[in-house]
Amino acid sequence: MIVAELAAAELRRRLTGPGLRVRLGPVAAEIRSPFDVVASGLALLYAQHDVLADDDFADFRVAVEPPFGVRRFVAPQALFKFDGNTRFRPLPAAQAFPLLEWGLNWCITMHCHQYLMIHSAVLERHGRALLLPAPPGSGKSTLCAALVARGWRLLSDELALVELDGTRVVPMPRPISLKNRSIDTIARFWPDAAIGDVVPDTLKGSVAHVRPPADSVRRALEFALPAWVVLPHYENGAAMQLAALAKCDAFMRLVDSAFNYSVHGRAGFEALAALVDASDCYAFTYGGALDEAVATFDRFASP
């Protein structure tokens, strides 16, 4: 069963009772929340994800709930809880769904050390993985959404999960997070995209999430082999440029982008080295012409 097959009342029952258990690639999460925006966000953006039984194992037990006391009623807030303990500062209740997404990211990066985790979008064509490692503001998610819109399989918008031998990238398809102007940009570029509510005034500005395609979610257990590492850089109005990047430079950028490189010591080094060995590396500058950008990636990914 997938989330879309749950009646609204049943989804609500699970969220306010035993928890909604969903599979997120290699892990499962149990989610509880009384907030309507969380229920509607899950119904739309996780529609294709598998629902697990109430007694199935969940790697992460999370909740997005109002605090006790007057803040339930006056300027209501939302708390993220992991295993019953509050994490992070409370946010306005209107930000409850983004808070869930950020909290799930935190759960994964803090606990999934069976992988080398890199802050990177990951997409796939013909079994080969394209990594787009980049800091916030580099246009990573916009480019990721544009590629997904034109048929690339989404492995992740945010986290590359690399097995410790460096030879396979593990999918975890979840909603693509867009910020500010990129929300309208993708809405125009991908008219059929299922985009959730725009949530204004977060720490990241306005944010909205895009539902991953059903095909990407269905194929969440299909690994991909590393093939390309491309460092994207968005610069308003800039001419598009794809330039070869020295592998040592790419390696050091990946070290900087990895969440848990130091946790793994030499094994982390070897995993990244194997990944770079297997990949062509580029720096990619683009100025907003998404069709042109996608065509560039399609060309070098053609079999």
Binding site: C248, F251, M252, V255, Y261, G265, F269, V276
Partner: protein
Amino acid sequence: MNPDSSWRLVAPDALASRSWDDELVLYNDVTGDTHHLSVLGHAVMTMLASHPSGIDLAALVGGIADDAGTSADDELAAAVERTLAHLAELRLATPVSA
């Protein structure tokens, strides 16, 4: 820097490395640090690795010059000295005690 001094790697068994395009990245188990070394840094590390008991500066410069097909002039010697000082700061190379 004493021109008569010899140099060796601090802990060769603690190093994991990968080379692409003649540059080098390496991981040091002792410090937990990852380094990116230039072509010259790579050449110095390679030469030191092949002389575990130490190699003096003149021989080091000569060996690097031979491998690169160039002359062991003062400019190269100065660059090698700077590289050795940098590698010492990174705790990768050390002068050999007399």
